[in-house]
């Protein structure tokens, strides 16, 4: 908890852009968690207003083609987009960390197999692998999670592997090996805590990639299913009515972009704090 507050305040203080990212991220997370409790209206109530109605005080984001108020739908979308991406990225982080550490620490055959596997996944065009997985598993939340996890896995494996390689060469690992520690003990006690920093940074990027993939999938109709909404599926919904009801596409697109941007900005700030690059003046 203390660490969390420390990091939040550190990001807040680092610069205006990071502070903006942090503020909007916190706001979006708040909306995602407490959105359903706020008096915004029922996101699934058909004919809550006119069909394709423009924004009004009652329906600040307008209404959709079934007369549903769009604001509560966007709030619901924030929740779905964040939740799906976060779950997927956590799964990816767990698998990626395990495989990356194994590859980096054991080397040889394990390394070759893991690295090759990551290459294969990496060589698949990201969206095509997404479409394939969505096709195999059927559209929906499970396949969205699987797609994001698979797409972000090679990135995490690579980063964890290279960090593990450098950590494994450090004195405390050798000392533990000499003391007769088991591989499991070394991986869990000595390597894992020391690759977590790199994983955290990568995680924020994976999260933003995950959000992009989730919304792209939903945009192509392969993500969350109606009447549930993700920001991508709302955008798909809105883009069909772009010419006569632009508020749908604009509001969901803007919120989606803001969500991804805030994750990216916070990620940048975390990375800058963990690994400050102090270039020099050239004059």
């Amino acid at each position: 908890m203390r660490t969390a507050i420390y990091w939040l305040s550190r990001i807040w203080r680092s610069d205006a852009l990071s502070a903006f990212g942090l503020a909007s991220l916190l706001l979006l997370i708040f909306l995602g968690i407490f959105g359903p409790l706020l008096p915004l209206g029922d996101p699934t109530q058909i004919a809550a207003g006119p069909r394709l109605g423009p924004p009004t005080p009652q329906h600040p984001f307008g209404t959709d083609e079934l007369g549903r108020s769009f604001l509560p739908r966007v709030v619901q979308g924030i929740r779905a987009t964040f939740l799906l991406s976060a779950i997927a990225v956590l799964i990816s982080a767990m698998i990626g960390t395990f495989l990356g550490m194994a590859a980096g620490y054991f080397g040889r055959a394990v390394d070759i197999m893991v690295a090759r596997g990551a290459d294969i996944l990496f060589a698949f065009p990201a969206l095509l692998v997404g479409l394939l997985v969505a096709a195999v598993l059927g559209p929906g939340q499970v396949s969205a999670i699987a797609v994001i996890a698979i797409a972000t896995l090679p990135l995490l494996i690579r980063v964890v592997r290279s960090v593990t390689l450098s950590v494994a060469g450090r004195g405390f690992v050798t000392a533990a090996e000499v003391a007769g520690a088991s591989a499991g003990r070394i991986l869990l006690l000595h390597i894992l805590p020391n690759v977590m920093g790199a994983v955290m940074v990568q995680l924020t990027y994976a999260l933003s990639i995950g959000m992009i993939i989730e919304s792209a999938l939903s945009f192509l109709g392969l993500g969350v299913q109606p009447p549930d909404a993700s920001l991508g599926s709302l955008l798909r919904q809105g883009s069909a009515y772009l010419t006569i009801a632009p508020w749908m596409a604009m509001s969901s697109g803007a919120v989606l972009s803001l969500a991804i941007m805030s994750v990216n900005l916070v990620g940048d700030a975390v990375r800058d704090a963990l690994e400050p690059l102090k270039g020099r003046d050239l004059t």
């Binding site: 680092s14 610069d15 205006a16 852009l17 990212g21 090759r116 596997g117 290459d119 294969i120 990496f122 060589a123 698949f124 065009p125 990201a126 969206l127 095509l128 479409l131 394939l132 997985v133 096709a135 195999v136 059927g138 933003s208 992009i212 919304s215 792209a216 945009f219 192509l220 991508g232 955008l235 809105g238 883009s239 772009l242 010419t243 632009p246 596409a249 604009m250 697109g253 989606l256 972009s257 803001l258 991804i260 941007m261 990216n264 900005l265 940048d268 690059l277 102090k278 270039g279 020099r280 003046d281 050239l282 004059t283």
Partner: protein, 316 residues
């Protein structure tokens, strides 16, 4: 010799990667519910008709046999036949290559033209100082606004006020160069936004990283001008990570920017493969994914080669 010894294992690894991709895509396609028979016959599929279609396309064979046949014909340069058109899919891919290439080059060109100078400027300007700089804002926005949001906005703008550009449809460059640009610039721009951010951020990071190196301090200490330092030392040394992301980005573009192609109805690799997947036209999807992976791997090898050219330490 250094290059050869350095590249040979990479070629071998690339081949293994492609073999893995081929197995995965083949298996995945066979696991997808619904087949070509469903698509072709619509709702009127009877068990007999389905059987007849399966037999016609050899889909009744054991999977391993199907895979083996596919692999053998692949090695002979035969990528299979589309079930829809009954024509070799490779012709269709070759025909689409210029479209995908053009789109990729427009996007890459824009990304480099905007991203590189901004990235270098931002990286050098930062020089240890903090503060808001415009390039960071551009980078943050570009990396965060998904291409279909950009595309939707552009479509909205240009379909309400048709300002010279055209939304959707594709005109071959050879038929009508102006019309071609009218249709290709918007999707190119859409795709490039992420690329601009990617190149910008990577360049900025790389420049910043190089700026911490001892030889930059050494050059400053020798009284070199900032211009000379940038030109002689920073650009070349910062190039390696930039080459990595630029090639990855280019591979991604060539592999098919499905969403943008769908959005703007651009007949490129991505749209073709996507439709093939929807139609369960196995040969198209298999060839599409394999080609995309092949291009990706080939481009990565080019990148490996470039590293070796840029950085004499690589491979020795």
């Amino acid at each position: 010799m250094r290059l050869l010894l350095y590249l040979l294992p990479r070629v071998a690894a690339a081949l293994i990667t492609l073999l893995g991709v081929s197995v995965l895509v083949f298996l995945a396609l066979r696991m997808i519910p619904g087949g070509y028979a469903d698509i072709l016959l619509g709702p009127f599929v009877t068990p007999e008709a389905r059987e007849a279609i399966s037999q016609r396309y050899g889909l009744d064979q054991p999977m391993i046999v199907q895979y083996w046949r596919w692999l053998v014909s692949l090695l002979q340069g035969d990528f299979g036949i589309s079930m829809v058109t009954q024509k070799p899919v490779i012709h269709e891919f070759i025909r689409r290559a210029p479209v995908t290439l053009e789109l990729a080059f427009i996007a890459l060109g824009l990304a480099l033209a905007v991203g590189l100078p901004l990235g270098v400027a931002s990286g050098i300007r930062r020089g240890g100082r903090k503060g808001l700089d415009a390039a960071r804002v551009v980078g943050a926005i570009g990396a965060s606004v998904p291409d279909f949001v950009v595309g939707s906005v552009l479509i909205f703008i240009f379909s309400v006020w048709s300002l010279w550009f055209r939304v959707g449809g594709y005109v071959p460059f050879t038929d009508d160069p102006v019309g071609n640009l009218q249709t290709m610039l918007l999707p190119g721009l859409t795709l490039s936004l992420f690329g601009i951010a990617l190149v910008l951020r990577t360049t900025r990071d790389a420049v910043l990283r190089v700026m911490t190196e001892g030889y930059i301090t050494a050059a400053v200490a020798r009284g070199e001008t900032p211009r000379a330092i940038i030109r002689l030392h920073i650009l070349r040394n910062a190039a390696i990570p930039v080459v990595t992301v630029v090639t990855t980005y280019f591979g991604f573009l060539l592999g098919g920017a499905v969403v943008v192609e769908v959005l703007f109805s651009i007949p490129g690799f991505g749209l073709f493969t996507f439709n093939g997947l929807l139609n369960r036209d196995y040969a198209i999807v298999q060839a599409g994914v394999l080609l995309a992976a092949g291009v990706f791997v080939a481009i990565n090898m080019t990148a490996d080669f470039l590293y070796a050219v840029i950085d004499p330490r690589v491979g020795s």
